[in-house]
């Protein structure tokens, strides 16, 4: 079974303005899809719709050829979503934050995996500090550690490069490419220019653009 996320005739209206209309998408395993567009063009909204968080839109979503409505549980078990807000609790340490995400994802409780994930994002030595004492970039890295910790094929990442330093950006880009090579699928919005690879596809949203796809 391979993964495939499709959208047909997607349209979304906000404040009497069409963010996008008649948007057809077909996202397969092994692809990195970058959603582009100026501020306010509906990138976050599109990602939220595609990750099943917003119901206020026209069109149909399909997960592996089935309507999303009926396969939601199956879809969620394969999704890793990283939103604007990192979802990191300031009062908890990075390890405690990850422990909750691990349990929430239905993964077995595994401290060494959490350490490994934190070291993969360069947070060795910060595991036991309250996340509130970390910098914005480090907090974002705690959130990104979930990509290492929780194996999910479909990544939906909203501005994952925010507040990350240059080395971190290169690391993350390599991680996205590796995930696509392994047969995963990445849906990402970013203002950072991603290196051109065969796996990369672009979707451009404009102010009320109609034929946004490709």
């Amino acid at each position: 079974m391979s993964l495939r996320l499709q959208a047909r005739k997607l349209a979304c209206e906000r404040d009497d303005r069409w963010l996008f209309r008649d948007l057809d998408l077909d996202i397969h395993a092994g692809e990195i899809v970058r959603v582009e567009g100026p501020n306010g063009s509906g990138k976050t909204t599109l990602l939220k719709i595609l990750s099943g968080q917003l119901a206020d839109f026209d069109g149909e979503l399909y997960w592996n050829e089935h309507p999303m409505r009926r396969t939601r549980q199956d879809f969620l078990a394969n999704l890793l979503y990283l939103g604007h807000a990192p979802g990191v609790k300031a009062a908890l340490t990075p390890l405690e934050n990850l422990a909750w995400y691990q349990a929430l994802a239905g993964e077995p409780d595994d401290e060494s995996a959490r350490f490994a994930a934190l070291s993969a994002v360069g947070l060795v030595g910060f595991e036991d500090l309250p996340a509130g004492q970390l910098s914005a970039g480090q907090q974002r890295r705690v959130a990104l550690a979930r990509l290492e910790l929780i194996p999910r094929p479909l990544w939906v990442l909203d501005e994952p490069f925010t507040a990350i330093d240059r080395d971190g950006v290169a690391d993350l880009e390599a991680r996205l490419a590796a995930h696509a090579r392994r047969g995963g699928c990445v849906l990402v919005t970013t203002h950072h220019e991603l290196a051109d690879t065969p796996a990369l596809r672009r979707i451009r949203l404009g102010q009320g653009a109609r034929d946004a796809e490709l």
């Binding site: 549980q73 239905g106 309250p130 047969g183």
Partner: protein, 247 residues
């Protein structure tokens, strides 16, 4: 081309990567309980605020009304219950707010675990650190209001049962208003009407204990209210959270 080696390798990897929905709800619920307890332990002021409010209100009443023990004893059950109810209400607004603000709530909604069960875990922590301490504290404050000695156990028990219903019902309102920047007043307006039955039977139980009547009927109704809330509220909370996040 479809049969070339790299493609095959990719397919098997994809199969391994792809996951069927699995269990683990118990693990997720336990982890949520542990996380919320830990969070509240680290922000003690949030736990102490309702208790301090409760103690302050009850301390001020004898000063403001009259130190006459007979008069105080008559109004004590209602007073203790109203003050405890308002204290619990005060703490409700923060139930989902911090999770909403830092993005944890959307992650909670996107987890493949049953949302009503996770919401119930959060409410359970709220009750453990608000309702239960209020119930345990009430008899001590009852002494200050010259509450007859025989009614302490009933007071604590009625508050423990009742505050659990209050937490469950209040959480529905908290979930509905979590997306609003100033949802506090709206939250009170939403849930106060639903609090009234709990208040009537809770205060009634203490009153009955003072007059030496049977308290079983009152406590049974409080228990029944809690049972209904336990069955229905988790689903209502989950639905309310979805509405708030979708907006």
């Amino acid at each position: 081309m479809p049969n070339s080696d790299p493609h095959l390798a990719r397919e098997t990897d994809a199969v391994r990567l792809f996951r069927e929905p699995e269990g683990g709800a118990g693990v997720a619920i336990r982890a949520t309980l542990k996380r919320d307890l830990l969070l509240l332990m680290r922000r003690r002021s949030e736990v102490l605020n309702p208790l301090v409010f409760f103690a302050l209100v009850i301390t001020l009443f004898p000063i403001g009304i009259s130190p006459d023990p007979e008069l105080l004893a008559t109004i004590a059950p209602g007073l203790l219950w109203v003050a405890a109810l308002l204290a619990a209400l005060l703490s409700l607004d923060s139930l989902f707010r911090s999770d909403f603000e830092d993005g944890s709530l959307e992650q909670l909604l996107l987890s493949p675990q049953p949302l009503p069960a996770l919401a119930l875990a959060k409410v359970a922590v709220h009750w453990l650190l608000t309702g239960l301490p209020l119930a345990l504290m009430a008899p001590v404050l009852g002494i200050m209001l010259a509450l007859p000695a025989g009614s302490y156990a009933v007071l604590a028990l009625s508050l423990a049962l009742g505050s659990a219903s209050l937490s469950l019902i209040g959480a529905i309102g908290a979930a509905l208003t979590v997306g609003l920047s100033r949802g506090g007043v709206l939250l009170s307006l939403l849930v106060l009407p639903l609090y009234i039955p709990v208040l009537i039977f809770g205060a009634g139980a203490v009153q009955a204990a003072i007059f030496g009547e049977g308290v079983a009927a009152h406590l049974a109704i409080l228990g029944a209210l809690l049972a209904v809330a336990l069955i229905l509220a988790p689903w209502a909370i989950a639905a309310s959270l979805r509405i708030s996040i979708n907006g």
